[in-house]
Amino acid sequence: MRRSFAIFLCVSLMVAAPSYGLEVKQVTSPGGLKAWLVEDHTIPFTALEIDFGGGAVLEAPDKLGTAYFLAGMMEEGAGDYSADEFQRRQQELAVDLSFDAYQETMSVSVKFLTENKDESLELLRLALEQPRFDSDRLEFVRSQILAIIANREKDATDIAYMALNKESFGDHPLGDVIEGQVETIQSISAEDLEEFRQQALTRDDVIVGAAGDITEEELGSLLDELFAGLSGPGPSSPPDKAQSLINGGLTVIDYPSPQSFIVFRHEGILSDNPDFLTAYVMNEILGSQSYLSRLKEEVREKRGLTYGIASYLSSYDDVAFISGQFSTDNNTVAEAVEVVKDIWTDLAENGVSEEELQSVKTYLTGAYPLRFDGNSRIASILAAMQRDERDITYFDHRNDRVNALTVEDINRVAARLLKPEELHFVVVGQPVGLESARY
């Protein structure tokens, strides 16, 4: 008996260890910059995910949208290259660059071929250090952003989230829309963009995830070459700490559509909270996007009220939420909202069963290795883990930590976190029998 037990243990340990062979290394450059790397030389290219720790929250109130505008200008010429020359060069090298702005970060996703490594990185360095804000391209991108803003004002999803963020953050910059407003976009100059670039893209607050055909040494020198020319910490002062202002209630916004789009939210749990993983597992049972959750089972499978429904946790530096969204016919909004509240109440009061927890554990632990699907995915996961200040060994222990959770853990967190009376619903559409209310 003892012997077979030992064998069993051994097998389960092998399964628990990252048998998918994901070996994450921390690389420190000669200049002291750090990155996480998964080396894989099967395909001759490398993916980089670069994350700068200053985003739209750093913008001045009369310059909202600067971060988004800057991201839009990063492929519009740099150094000696005009926009068309820059993009021609980019295509000759087949280097993929994609710049994005978020509230708390600016990110760059990169893919380059091994054969064009040095030239590709030189082009990226130029884009980061010396973007050109030629006036014709500036005006062109400005007109595109203004069109995007006009579109946003007529898009049900955008309308719903703008209202929900207002309820969540009040006047705090986190509640602002990333694209800015018509007046602020019209006022942004090349100098504003350059000033913001110096504040937001600094070498002191950069996170890098790398995966693919590159060695530790190559990555180390790449880091120095890429970021040496960026400034140190800028003069910016971070905004005041955000806090959740959301209260239970219902906001109905009239919108011409046979179907309503509904978002809902209350305060959540910060990603550095020791209970975060427990809350994450609880939310998979509640409203996972891929797993057959309670919300999906009740609202879609049993009642046919929606094509899709999900809930999710979101966490900023100082504030966190649990939110959800779905669409349903105007005639069934009231019913669906009640079902959501009932599910919320039931999980808070009665918790989950042993069987439910076991099922979600096998799902989550089985699915975990599947997410390391290729260099690009891996690079972006490596960056996100560093942004969340996870330990580099997190990957090795994550499934063990999921498996160690008990029904009591989940129920304790569900009872504390889920507050049906605090949910704020925003309905965009023409729902039957619903009026805005606060409760």
């Binding site: 993009q87 021609r88 710049f99 595109q144 290795p369 599947l370």
Partner: protein
């Protein structure tokens, strides 16, 4: 740049669902092909980087293959395929895949219906058993049919009725195809979805779900002979359907009149123009025309700021704030080549459309710039390398290509064909394509609230 992608979202989001704008071919993955006695076609694509596997099962039946008056049937059946079988009761399929840590999904296009699962490699046999079982063992209660009808109607609300771009595209297709069922939306017209019944569903299912109408693609950390063995065990016993024949849909007559649509919806914030031309597709042993059109789309709209239309409409003059060209040859029959122009604020729709037509005329005069063509070919070559990063994307592409009637030889030849296309071929293809009498021009505009 992502911002432009956002504009496409509203202009073209429906199109984007079904069209992979730039097709790329594979290079290094090992492929092995089998055929079972009952006609099931099997392709195994090996990729041993991670211990995961993707199963995709493709049926040669899609939104354009249903009986008249019963639009949306293929898509409705796809939804119902998750309800349970004689052997595995309600919910077992989803729950099993889920308990094994896998993900599963399905999608329906004009030409095919596909089911896909991704799971750790050691569970491959289990999902093959489940997928094989529902090919001929489907069981449905009245309640399943009625509840899922509500879900499909909600899906139509979400994807089409709530999306002016999708509604315009639906109207454009209805106008572009005079005779071919590509004129009918994949998800179906609402009033017809409402009437589909049990007999319709099972008649369709029995007529089209058979091993000799399916292609099984297994991609990932597997050995081909192991896959063949499991396939024999689980797919082998399925019954050959002698009534399945090659698809013969009504074809387009010679088109003689340019069509124009004005679509008004108060949710359209920025007016835009879409022009669709009837365009040839890829065919076995005849892919050069389609390859030329893919390159043409890249030259006109897929080359960033250096795209021909971008230069003519956005850089040289301030006519447009966005333009694009889209083409995919991945169809069984003739489909479309699309152009989109979003006029600048002070420019009228008439002016923008005139400028578009002028630009196309000038292009036909000037021809292709060699350096641009060389660059585009280089970047296509690189995209094959990048594509290999995701074996499930490779599996999906090959599934589409096989389902529309191409062979593995055609698929293997495609990268070289693209590289060998000359500027003359592109210009010849462009001249054949740009015939206004076989086109539809749609104007999407807002309307004042009544």
């Amino acid at each position: 740049m992502r911002e432009i992608a956002l504009i496409i979202r509203w202009a073209l989001s429906f199109l984007a669902m079904m069209i992979v704008s730039f097709q790329v071919a594979l290079a290094a993955q090992e492929m092995t092909e089998y055929r079972l006695d009952n006609g099931l076609h099997i392709v195994v694509i090996e990729d041993h980087r991670t211990p995961a596997v993707t199963q995709t099962l493709w049926y040669r039946v899609g939104g354009s293959d249903g009986p008249p008056g019963k639009s949306g049937l293929a898509h409705y059946v796809e939804h119902l395929m998750f309800k349970g079988t004689e052997k595995f009761g309600p919910g077992v399929f989803n729950r099993t895949v889920q308990d094994l840590g896998g993900m599963d999904n399905a999608f329906t296009s004009f030409d095919y219906t596909a089911y896909i699962q991704r799971i750790s490699a050691d569970n491959i046999e289990r999902i093959m058993e489940l997928e094989a079982d529902r090919m001929q063992g489907l069981l449905l209660t009245e309640e399943d049919i009625e509840i899922e009808r509500l879900v499909v109607l909600e899906e139509r609300h979400t994807r089409t009725d709530s999306n002016p771009g999708a509604l315009l595209q639906e109207q454009m297709n209805a106008a572009l195809f005079l005779n071919h069922p590509y004129s009918i939306p994949i998800i179906g017209w609402r009033h017809e979805i409402e009437t589909l019944n049990r007999d319709d569903i099972f008649e369709f299912y029995r007529a089209h779900y058979a091993p000799n109408n399916a292609i099984l693609i297994i991609a990932g950390d597997v050995e081909p002979d192991e896959v063949l063995q499991y396939a024999r065990t689980h797919y082998g016993p399925l019954t050959f359907n002698p009534d399945i024949a090659e698809r013969q849909r009504p074809q387009e007559p010679r088109q003689l009149a340019a069509r124009r649509l004005i679509f008004q919806d108060e949710r359209v914030s920025t007016p835009y123009i879409v022009r669709d031309y009837l365009a040839p597709e890829r065919n076995s042993n005849a892919q050069r025309e389609a390859a030329s059109l893919e390159l043409l789309a890249a030259i006109l709209g897929g080359d960033g700021i250096n795209s021909y239309l971008t230069q003519k409409l956005e850089v040289d003059v301030d006519i447009a704030i966005y333009s694009s060209a889209n083409y995919s040859g991945q169809y069984v029959d003739k489909n479309s080549f699309g152009l989109v122009v979003v006029p600048a604020e002070s420019v009228s729709m008439e002016e923008a459309e005139e400028a578009l037509d002028r630009a196309l005329d000038e292009f036909l005069q000037e021809g292709v710039e060699d350096s641009q063509l060389r660059r585009i070919k280089k970047s296509i070559h690189a995209s094959w390398i990048y594509e290999q990063d995701s074996v499930q994307n490779v599996a999906r592409r090959i599934g589409q290509e096989l389902t529309i009637g191409l062979t593995l030889e055609d698929i293997r030849a495609w990268p070289d064909i693209l590289q060998s296309i000359t500027s003359e071929e592109i210009m010849d293809a462009a001249r054949r394509l740009f015939q206004l009498e076989s086109s539809v021009t749609g104007w999407a505009m807002g309307k004042p609230k009544s």
